[in-house]
């Protein structure tokens, strides 16, 4: 949390100290009266992304001389920036931040995560997938680390679950941004022309998933059905759009394609 009193148009630089190496990483120069987005741009790439491997968010609260919250920058005598790292961490990114003034005369104070608040605990541990085939037979994958990509999860389903070899495809949803924030994957049963049982993500017994109020759910987002699904829309359902009459040819009742799209006539 960075507090700027009497914000002016001058600039400063934030220097974040790495708690283990004690080396500093500098932000870009930022104006004392910067809005939240400008502040974010000054710290995100140089520090959040390069040093912590994460996006970050910045919120700004401004207070007028009477101590009331204001949305008018010109009325603000105190700007309070709250900077949060998007990726959950198990340790503080920095426990010492120095604001080095270059041209500003504003008073700047910094609260580090130790006092301003640390990240919720990141996800850790292992999980496995319980697979159920159409006959109700249960099988399980081996335990997998929390940060396993959907492609690898699908690979283990393929190789370790009963009747699933080459039957499914895995997609990341990227809902949580980072695996430390949560797991969210889709499994499409692309090679299984039947209704599978509900697969389940199960926390490992040996190394359970842990984090901030870990909840686990397994749902079906697209039911197997008699509806037909063509992906992509196939040739047989498509005709070219033209603005002139066409030469149309069929050979043994199969329509010829017009390779160069020059069959006007």
């Amino acid at each position: 949390m960075i507090t700027v009193l009497n914000p002016d148009n001058g600039q400063y630089i934030l220097n974040f100290q790495d708690p283990s190496t004690l080396k500093y990483t500098a932000s870009s120069a930022v104006k004392a009266n910067a809005d939240a987005n400008t502040f974010k741009n000054a710290v995100e790439r140089p520090y959040c992304l390069r040093k912590l491997g994460s996006w970050c968010s910045v919120s700004l609260e401004m207070f007028d001389a009477a101590g009331n919250v204001t949305t008018t920058a010109a009325d603000s005598v105190k700007n309070v920036y709250t900077m949060k790292i998007s990726r959950l961490r198990g340790s503080v990114g920095s426990n010492k931040v120095i604001a080095a003034k270059t041209t500003t005369t504003s008073q700047i104070t910094v609260e580090t995560p130790s006092t301003a608040g640390q990240s919720s605990p990141p996800l850790s541990g292992k999980f496995k997938i319980k697979c159920i085939d159409a006959d109700g037979f249960e099988s399980f994958t081996e335990d997998m680390a929390y940060d396993r990509h959907a492609l690898n999860i699908n690979l283990n389903i393929m190789n370790q679950c009963s009747m699933m070899y080459d039957r499914s495809t895995g997609y990341e949803s990227y809902t949580h941004g980072w695996k430390q924030n949560g797991i969210d994957v889709f499994i499409r049963f692309s090679g299984l022309n039947e209704n599978p049982g509900q697969f389940e993500l199960i926390s490992s017994e040996a190394d359970p998933l842990s984090g901030d109020n870990v909840t686990i759910s397994s749902t079906t987002v697209q039911e197997y059905s008699t509806n037909l699904f063509y992906q992509p829309i196939p040739y047989e359902f498509l005709h070219t759009y033209e603005t002139k009459p066409q030469l149309i040819v069929t050979v043994n009742n199969e329509m010829a394609v017009c390779h160069n799209l020059t069959c006007d006539f």
Partner: protein, 393 residues
């Protein structure tokens, strides 16, 4: 329970080995085997091909590439791929040092050789370790009525015609060049009039254009042959950072941009064509049944889908999907951007043509566009194209 396990492959018996299953876990005992050194073909895309057309073969090499060592510099990891007995030519599009990820989806783009039209061809791919298997549930494509299925199909093709204009008096002899015309069973129409075939051979035929009462109507919507008209807009050579995006995709004002038209054999663009480019695909969707339809769209980076709900019309297209964040190839279920990639249901009538148009724009890195369709029906059970389940956890 203790038992001996024997493995027999091509009549050759391998040494037995002993396995043990604890008595309290007998219900979980299972024998699992992996065909880890058998590459698998997933599909040909597009599966409908013709002489000299371009197509992608999607496959998974499994662990095969671990076995292929010390490959001469002028040899690919796989030996060949064929549609029926016809080779797919990879010389222009595959480098000898291209690598294919173990246990992953991979694709190679090639040009189909002199394949003759046929309603069904098998696929094959030969590796140093032997012939690839085929995931039939994915590779097989079936018609709406489920009566005809194929892994690949070859259609005849027109490359050129001797004239693009005729006379109301008719009598003109039209020569059509292409491939796959070596049969008397050819019908040709020009502006809806039968053109009487007078001679034919493999790569061309001629027909006599009949008289016509009225001159042809132009600058109105007409329905062409199979496929879609794809315009590739390439703005990468722009000198003033004027790059193509949604707002300027139809613009022709920047002379540094190029616009290339080609035939697309399905509602999809090739993968990873480049940066600072866009695609416009225009066509007619011919409804195979009177039913409800909904469309799915996945792309990288951004895309839109338009539909004219009135059959035969293209003047009242409406946007039915808009996606502003990329997803994985054919990932229609992603919702991380809060936007659906699935349209509302649309009623359509069998045999009617509905104008459909897709836009896709790409800034940097990977790119793709694919549009799928779901057709509501309950009569056919176990159809090869039945909607597969998707689960999330």
């Amino acid at each position: 329970m203790t038992f001996d396990l024997y493995l027999k492959v091509d009549h050759e018996l391998y040494e037995p080995f002993e396995a043990h299953c604890a008595s309290n876990r007998m219900h979980k005992c299972q024998v699992i085997y992996q065909k880890a050194y058998t590459p698998v073909i997933y599909e040909l895309s597009p599966p409908v091909v013709y002489y000299q057309s371009i197509t992608s073969l999607w496959f998974n090499p499994k662990a095969t590439t671990n076995l292929i060592r010390d490959l001469p510099s002028d040899e690919m990891s796989f030996l060949n791929a064929k549609v029926g007995g016809t080779l797919i030519d990879y010389e222009e599009r595959v480098d000898f040092d291209d690598n294919y990820g173990n246990w992953n989806w991979n694709y190679v783009i090639g040009q189909v050789g002199d394949v003759m039209p046929n309603t069904s061809y098998p696929l094959s791919m030969m590796w140093e370790v032997g012939k690839a298997g085929i995931q039939e549930q994915m590779a097989t494509k079936c018609s709406y009525d489920n009566q005809t299925c194929y892994m690949s199909k070859a259609v005849p093709v027109i490359f050129s015609q001797s004239s693009n204009v005729g006379f109301t008096t008719g009598g003109q002899s039209l020569t059509v060049k292409g491939w796959g015309f070596n049969t008397p069973n050819i019908t040709a129409t020009v502006d809806g009039q039968n053109c009487t075939v007078t001679s034919y051979q493999k790569d061309q035929f001629t027909c006599d254009v009949p008289p016509k009462a009225n001159i042809s109507t132009v600058d109105v919507p007409h329905i062409g042959a199979g496929g879609m008209r794809r315009t590739l807009v390439n703005s990468s050579q722009s000198t003033n950072n004027n790059f193509v995006w949604f707002h300027n995709i139809e613009s022709t004002s920047d002379s540094a941009w190029t616009r290339t038209e080609s035939l697309s054999m399905e509602f999809m663009t090739p993968n990873n064509e480049g940066s600072r480019l866009a695609n416009i695909l225009k066509g007619w969707f011919k409804a195979p049944a009177t039913a409800r339809y909904r469309f799915y769209m996945a792309c990288d980076d951004i895309c839109k889908l338009f539909l004219d709900h009135e059959s035969g019309s293209s003047s009242n297209k409406t946007q039915i999907l808009r996606v502003v964040r990329g997803s994985s190839h054919k990932d229609y279920w992603s919702r991380q951007d809060g936007e659906t990639r699935i349209s509302d249901w649309v009623n359509m009538t069998a045999g009617q043509h509905y104008y459909i148009e897709g836009h896709q724009a790409e800034a940097l890195h990977g790119d793709h566009l694919s549009v799928a369709v779901e057709i509501e029906q309950t009569e056919m059970v176990g159809h090869m194209q039945a909607m597969r389940e998707v689960q999330r956890f």
